[in-house]
């Protein structure tokens, strides 16, 4: 079964490029360039995933409008924002609306396809059985394992890589896909740590700087701390990267 992707982008050239690339990867695509058409298209034929540009024509927040209306209707559709608006406030706003990911332009089509696949897999897994018990494994012992559920019992952290799910002391951590990947990578690296270049690769984004990684780590820490006890397991190795320390 081919997954159906709706692309909402007001720039027709970019729209065409996304569609061509995704079609070559085996996805079905449908393109819209404004809010109303997009909402009608989504309602008429529910897609598996939606790629949304934030700025649609003169509507500066068109992408956000579509996202909010879909989630208001209870639609459980993974949404990825693709935008040139890179301000942190825009990213936070988009993710809080319920988007699964927020990618800033320019993007790599290959990596975009991989992210879409990953999101669809996660979505599928979550939809299949969200009540499964997660198998507890020690992060250090399974550092070479790429997939499968893992749990750092001692720190109170629960991770399911397959579903990109993380919980802190039993409470779900609302991490983005990029943040989840970074958390997983650091946790797997253990006390030895992981350098910035490896962390950049784990984000599956084309242009990532140390500053970008640091911003993500700050967001991760913030989300941990919002849920409860002080989280101090992710430690900075100045000039190198980050390490995982069991507290």
């Amino acid at each position: 079964m081919n997954y159906r992707i709706i692309i909402v982008e007001d720039d027709l050239d970019q729209q065409q490029n996304y569609a061509d690339a995704l079609q070559r990867k085996g996805f079905e695509t449908q393109c819209f360039s404004n809010v109303d058409e997009a909402l009608n298209g989504i309602m008429n034929n529910r897609p598996d995933l939606v790629l949304l540009d934030v700025v649609l024509g003169n509507d500066q927040d068109g992408g956000f409008t579509i996202c909010r209306k879909l989630l208001d209707r209870g639609e459980d559709i993974p949404i990825i924002f693709l935008s040139d608006r890179s301000d942190e406030i825009d990213q936070v706003f988009g993710l809080r609306l319920g988007a699964w990911d927020y990618q800033t332009k320019p993007i790599s089509l290959a990596l975009l396809a991989e992210r879409i696949k990953s999101l669809l897999r996660i979505h599928q897994a979550r939809s299949a059985d969200i009540t499964n018990k997660y198998t507890a494994i020690n992060a250090n012992k399974n550092s070479n394992t790429d997939t499968g559920p893992s749990q750092d019992i001692s720190s109170g952290l629960t991770i399911d890589e397959e579903k990109s799910y993380a919980a802190w002391h039993g409470k779900t951590l609302p991490l983005t896909l990029t943040e989840f990947r970074l958390l997983t990578a650091i946790m797997k690296a253990g006390p030895e740590g992981i350098d910035y270049s490896s962390l950049c690769e784990s984000t599956m984004q084309r242009m990532v700087t140390n500053g970008t990684i640091n911003s993500h780590i700050k967001n991760i820490r913030k989300k941990f701390n919002e849920l409860g006890p002080a989280f101090q397991s992710i430690r900075n190795k100045p000039g190198f990267g980050y390490r995982w320390e069991q507290v």
Partner: protein, 728 residues
């Protein structure tokens, strides 16, 4: 340049106002001279007016002043100058007014009678007269080597030393009074008859209510109205007494004194009699100049205008006298410390003598002992038909004139002084208000821009609503700040704007290229496609930097700083950098040396409030910058300096210098420009420098309350960036 503030300037200028009273003071001497000259002139006019008025209004002026006495009698006229204060009747003459000439002395040069003619006799007396408005005062100093007092058993009054007084009463009737030497104390006096032996009652005619209804009153002999004192002196005795002027004839006043010396045997009669007239005039009385009521009325009208006024006849007899009211004097004395001279008479002065000689408009300024002008004496002759009948004398105290002038000038000076003080206060208040307004404006203008030259607020409230030049300046500064703020906002938005504008076409390029390569994989080896790919990556990198810079400022505002060991951080950080350089060969010839010349990087902990990832970003930018500008043969050094409660991290690199303004005294003065976004001050060949690295470094250093300074080495071999943290 020394500070020369507005307050100081206005203070200096205000002091110039003080020159006004100083200059005025220098004119005081001129004012005094002018006042005295004017006063003299006024007195002269007044005296002339009085003289003219007397001649015009007093029909009997000639009779009054010239008199009809024969010239021989007039030689013996007695003078009775006016006195200001009553004289105490105590037989002592110390309270009598002083005179320039000694009092007339009468002795045996013209004795009336001697018991033993041809034998020497010492009897003599001196006589003084004075008058007030109510009394004629008499002082007689008698020389008598043997005083015979009246005995209680004697009824007769002439068996003892005594004085015979004769005068015309107000009705022109001759009255005789005998003043016997009874004892020390109150003077006894009795009316008597021409025998001078016993007391004799007198009859006085009083005017009745109707025609021919005059009443005759009898007055006892001892009720003479004379009050006095008898006092024994070493040479004889002194008698001091006063007679009411109402008992005297003031038109043709005449009086006569005879001293009767009684020695060993009173029954034999007097030893000698000395009179105030010589023997050939024994049937006459001495003329005495009592104030004439008609003339007195004329000058009384001016008595409050001048210190003293006199009218003398040509023989020096005083016919009228007036002086300023004593109460007024007291006020002057109290206010100005004025002590007026009280000359008993002006007749002795040269001024009067000149006037009597007919010299018109004479005047004389009398200098006191201290050389200062004390009195203004103006004398004007009363002349009729070429004959000088008398003289009008007006005397005024120079001190009084000056005191009045001074009082007037003082009032003016007080008003001028008050006005100057008021003006000074107003000037100072105005100056302080101006200075305060300018200071506030300056303060607000300074506070509107932070230490890095960023505009914090665009509205200046100081003097904003004032409709003057400072108000204009305030509003202009606000307008300038608004314009500058708009421009700065535009500059600050450039990275974000550029990023927004570039990202879409860049994304279009990137995705198009990817699709192209996906469709035609063999193109991947084409050099132009590779260059295109590299170019897109380069532009992507630029947009990434722009994004980082644009988002940093808002991001760091929400970040919390935590306690952090700067030494440990730097140790870990620089270890990672050294490893990275060796592994990745970022710069073949550039080396990072962690110099330990000042403080080992592995020293005692140095805690600061910080964020390790932001510090990492900060040092990344500084080291990127240092390595980027370091030549192949150059060197980058990092070392630290521990200060008292601060720690300085210094990053030095060889290479091109930071540009310095020709006028800059310190290279660090261009820090603001150096750390501004989109400003690259150095050329480094092919590398792209948006000038965002140092801007980001500056933002992070500010977040850490650290001081970031960039400057050139003193030897010109490279650049030094230092960041100074505050330890906790």
């Amino acid at each position: 340049m020394p500070r020369f503030g507005i307050k100081f300037q206005i203070t200096l200028l205000s002091l110039g106002l003080l020159s006004i009273p100083l200059v005025s003071l220098s004119y005081w001497d001129d004012i005094q001279k002018t006042a005295l000259t004017a006063q003299t002139r006024i007195q002269e006019i007044e005296a002339k007016a009085i003289a003219t008025s007397l001649l015009a209004t007093q029909q009997n002026i000639r009779e009054l002043l010239a008199g009809n006495e024969d010239s021989e009698l007039q030689k013996h006229a007695l003078s009775a100058p006016s006195i200001k204060h009553p004289i105490r009747m105590d037989g002592l003459f110390g309270d009598w007014p002083k005179r320039n000439n000694p009092p007339p002395r009468f002795n045996l040069d013209h004795p009336v009678w001697l018991a033993l003619p041809g034998t020497p006799n010492e009897t003599a007396f001196s006589l003084r007269l004075a008058q007030s408005s109510q009394h004629l005062y008499v002082a007689i100093d008698v020389r008598d080597n043997k005083i015979v007092f009246r005995k209680d058993s004697h009824l007769r009054l002439d068996y003892n030393d005594h004085i015979q007084l004769t005068y015309n009463d107000q009705s022109g009737v001759l009255r005789r009074v005998i003043l016997p030497a009874e004892n020390e104390g109150s003077l006894a006096s009795y009316y008597t008859d021409s025998y001078w032996q016993y007391g004799q009652d007198i009859e006085v005619v009083a005017l009745g209510s109707g025609k021919n209804n005059n009443i005759i009153n009898t007055i006892s002999s001892h009720k003479t109205g004379i009050q006095g004192y008898w006092h024994k002196t070493p040479e004889g005795y002194a008698v001091e007494f006063r007679i009411p002027t109402t008992q005297l004839d003031t038109v043709q006043p005449q009086i006569h004194f005879s001293i009767v010396d009684i020695d060993d045997n009173p029954a034999y009669g007097p030893q000698a009699i000395v009179a105030s007239l010589p023997k050939n005039l024994e049937d006459k009385l001495n003329p005495v100049a009592l104030h004439a009521r008609e003339l007195q009325r004329v000058i009384d009208q001016l008595k409050n205008t001048y210190a003293r006024l006199w009218i003398y006849d040509s023989r020096g007899r005083e016919w009228a006298f007036a002086e300023r009211h004593s109460e007024k004097q007291t006020v002057l004395q109290t206010e100005y410390g004025l002590q007026e001279e009280s000359p008993s008479t002006a007749f002795d002065s040269q001024c009067v003598r000149d006037a009597l000689l007919g010299r018109i408009e004479p005047l004389q300024h009398i200098d006191g002992s201290d050389g200062k002008l004390k009195r203004l004496l103006v004398c004007y002759p009363i002349m009729e038909a070429g004959e000088t009948l008398g003289v009008v004398v007006i005397d005024e105290s120079a001190d009084h004139v000056l005191a009045l002038e001074e009082a007037r000038v003082s009032v003016i000076a007080k008003k001028v002084g008050g006005a100057i003080i008021l003006l000074l206060v107003v000037l100072f208040t105005y100056a302080f208000t101006l200075v305060r307004r300018i200071s506030r404006l300056s303060q607000e203008a300074q506070m509107s821009i932070d230490t890095h030259g960023r505009i914090e607020r665009t509205t200046i409230n100081a003097s904003r609503n004032f409709p003057d030049e400072i108000g204009d300046l305030s509003r202009n500064i606000s307008t300038l700040l608004e314009k500058q703020h708009s421009y700065m906002s535009f500059l600050e938005r450039i990275p974000q704007t550029l990023r927004h504008e570039i990202s879409n076409p860049l994304n279009k390029l990137r995705t198009s290229l990817e699709n192209l390569l996906d469709q035609k994989p063999d193109l991947a080896k084409d050099q132009y496609i590779r260059k295109l790919d590299a170019g897109i990556d380069q532009i992507s990198n630029i947009t990434l930097q722009l994004t980082e810079a644009a988002s940093l400022e808002s991001a760091i505002q929400e970040e919390q700083l935590a306690k952090l060991d700067l030494i440990e951080f730097l140790h870990d950080y620089l270890s990672a950098w050294n490893g990275q350089i060796e592994c990745t060969q970022l710069s073949n010839s550039s080396l990072i040396n962690t110099s330990q010349s000042n403080t080992p990087l592995t020293g005692a902990p140095a805690f600061i409030l910080g964020d390790s990832s932001r510090l990492e970003q900060l040092f990344d930018k500084l080291l990127d910058n240092a390595l980027g500008f370091c030549p192949e043969s150059g060197k980058v050094e990092v070392h630290i300096e521990r200060l008292a409660n601060r720690m300085k991290v210094i990053i030095e690199n060889d290479g091109p210098l930071l540009p310095t303004r020709p006028t800059s005294e310190h290279a660090s003065q261009n820090t603001t420009e150096l750390f501004s976004p989109m400003v690259s001050t150095r050329s480094s060949g092919s590398s792209i420098h948006l000038g965002l690295g140092l801007h980001i470094a500056k933002l992070i250093s500010d977040q850490h309350h650290a001081i970031l300074i960039g400057k050139n080495r003193t030897d010109g071999s490279g650049v030094i960036f230092s960041i100074e943290f505050e330890l906790i």
